[in-house]
């Protein structure tokens, strides 16, 4: 069983110490092209925002405070936490060509540039203006974001999962265990190891005597 831990170590992605996170996913071809293993750059200064203070999630409506599209509101599509980046849909775009070949110049598409966490602000759903937001606890004990100006709770937005699965429409495949079977509790605590219990259940009787060994 310890082999599984060894294999897990080998499979983990190793990034160099001052790795610069970009728009591409680390380990992808584009990222390997941009950041080859011998590349050494000065690290980027990133403001250390604690996990508790992070307000913005994928699917939120936020307003841009500064930049080319200042004052516009948009939906958050991607968050890159390592650089405190927020990518909005269709806003703060520059243009680039895609599908270039030797003779063809390619099609021009607008591609979004990331914005910093400090350059966007959450929008209050009631009056659709940017507000300061605080994390507070409800009566039930749920941790929610509360707009400071109006006092309205901003719920966590729905965002489709990256693997494209919609939990409500899921149908179990042939190799999937059903929900009831997976949640069924069959554990009865008793003073036996897994080995002993399984041997009893399978009717295996160990008649071999263990040879005396010295431990040192």
């Amino acid at each position: 069983m310890r082999l599984s831990a060894l294999l897990a170590l080998a499979a983990k992605v190793n990034l160099p110490p001052n790795y610069r996170y970009g728009m591409s996913k680390p380990g992808s071809m584009a990222d390997k092209r941009r950041n080859p293993p011998w590349k050494r750059q000065r690290p980027v200064l990133v403001e250390p925002i604690p996990e508790d203070s992070w307000n913005v999630f994928c699917g939120d409506i936020v307003e841009i405070l500064e930049g080319k599209d200042a004052g516009k509101q948009g939906k958050v599509v991607q968050i890159i936490r390592e650089r405190n980046w927020v990518v909005l849909e269709g806003l703060n775009t520059h243009f680039r060509y895609i599908g270039r070949s030797k003779d063809y110049r390619g099609t021009m598409i607008p591609s979004e540039a990331p914005l910093l966490f400090r350059q966007v602000k959450l929008v209050d759903p009631t009056d659709r203006k940017p507000t300061e937001v605080q994390w507070r606890f409800t009566e039930e004990g749920e941790r929610v974001r509360v707009s400071l100006r109006t006092g309205r709770i901003i719920p966590k937005p729905e965002f489709p999962r990256p693997d494209g699965i919609v939990p409500e429409q899921w149908i179990d495949g042939p190799k999937d265990t059903s929900v009831e079977d997976a949640l069924e509790r069959t554990y009865v605590p008793c003073l036996k190891t897994l080995g002993e219990e399984v041997m009893e259940a399978m009717g295996i009787v160990e008649t071999r005597r263990h040879r005396k060994v010295y431990w040192y």
Binding site: A8, E47, W170, L183, T186, V198, R211
Partner: protein, 236 residues
């Protein structure tokens, strides 16, 4: 077209299996006869199958597919609710699935094609690691209750010849230590002339710790200069 080549290889494998005849392990059958197959596992995965090697391959319906649908991995909480027999059976189900996915991965590499749905392998690996962790927890709890020992394998803090204090893990030997030539040749003590080097090593370690602390302080100062509102928020 590219996927079709993978199908032909899989078919080739299957026909090769059926050709020379089935081989069954008699001992394995004895153990299999005692297990009651679980009602929730479909027939392809019950242990009463006699054609062993077909389990290294996926359901023939999925051969040549670009993606295969799969559910989520088993979580720690779900596994903690299961009895030891359930976990034992689940381990082997997951193991066979993992072997099948690894075979598929290797075959895809050989054919230089993308593996259909590689996240299945990650999910199975995650489930098996979670299962291992749960079994370890139960074992640790029992051992602590019955004997009070923290670790499954006995060990000791010892000094080696270089002055390092190491956790020496005991080994199993057929003869006592005073008769064991290989064991007595290894020295688990430090001679006095090594003390000087121990002190030098300690100084080096302290120097590196101070350097790390100073570096951290310098980095903090730079961050404060660049993000002045950070300290105001930290106070709030």
């Amino acid at each position: 077209m590219a996927a079709g080549r993978l199908i032909t290889v899989c078919r080739g494998f299957a026909t090769a299996l059926k050709g020379p005849g089935r081989f069954t392990f008699s001992l394995l059958n004895k153990i299999r006869a005692n297990i009651n197959p679980f009602h929730q596992y479909k027939l392809i995965h019950t242990t009463l199958s006699r054609k062993g090697l077909e389990e290294f391959f996926d359901d023939p319906k999925n051969w040549g597919a670009e993606t295969v649908k799969s559910g989520a991995a088993w979580t720690h909480e779900q596994l903690r609710c299961k009895s030891n027999e359930d976990l034992h059976k689940l381990w082997y189900v997951l193991l066979k699935e993992r072997n099948m996915l690894l075979t598929l991965e290797q075959e895809a590499k050989r054919q230089r094609l993308p593996m259909p749905s590689p996240e299945r392998l990650e999910k199975v690996t995650e489930s098996m690691d979670a299962l291992d962790k749960v079994v370890q927890e139960r074992d640790d709890a029992l051992r602590l209750l019955q004997t009070g020992q923290e670790y499954p394998r006995p060990g000791d803090w010892r000094k080696d010849i270089f002055g390092h204090i190491i956790w020496y893990k005991y080994k199993q030997w057929p003869i006592p230590w005073y008769l064991n030539k290989r064991y007595t040749k290894k020295k688990y003590f430090t001679m006095p002339f090594v003390d000087k080097f121990v002190r030098l090593r300690l100084e080096k370690y302290l120097r590196s710790e101070t350097k790390k602390k100073n570096l951290k302080r310098r980095k903090e100062k730079i961050l404060q200069r660049k993000f002045p509102h950070m300290s105001a928020e930290a106070q709030n």
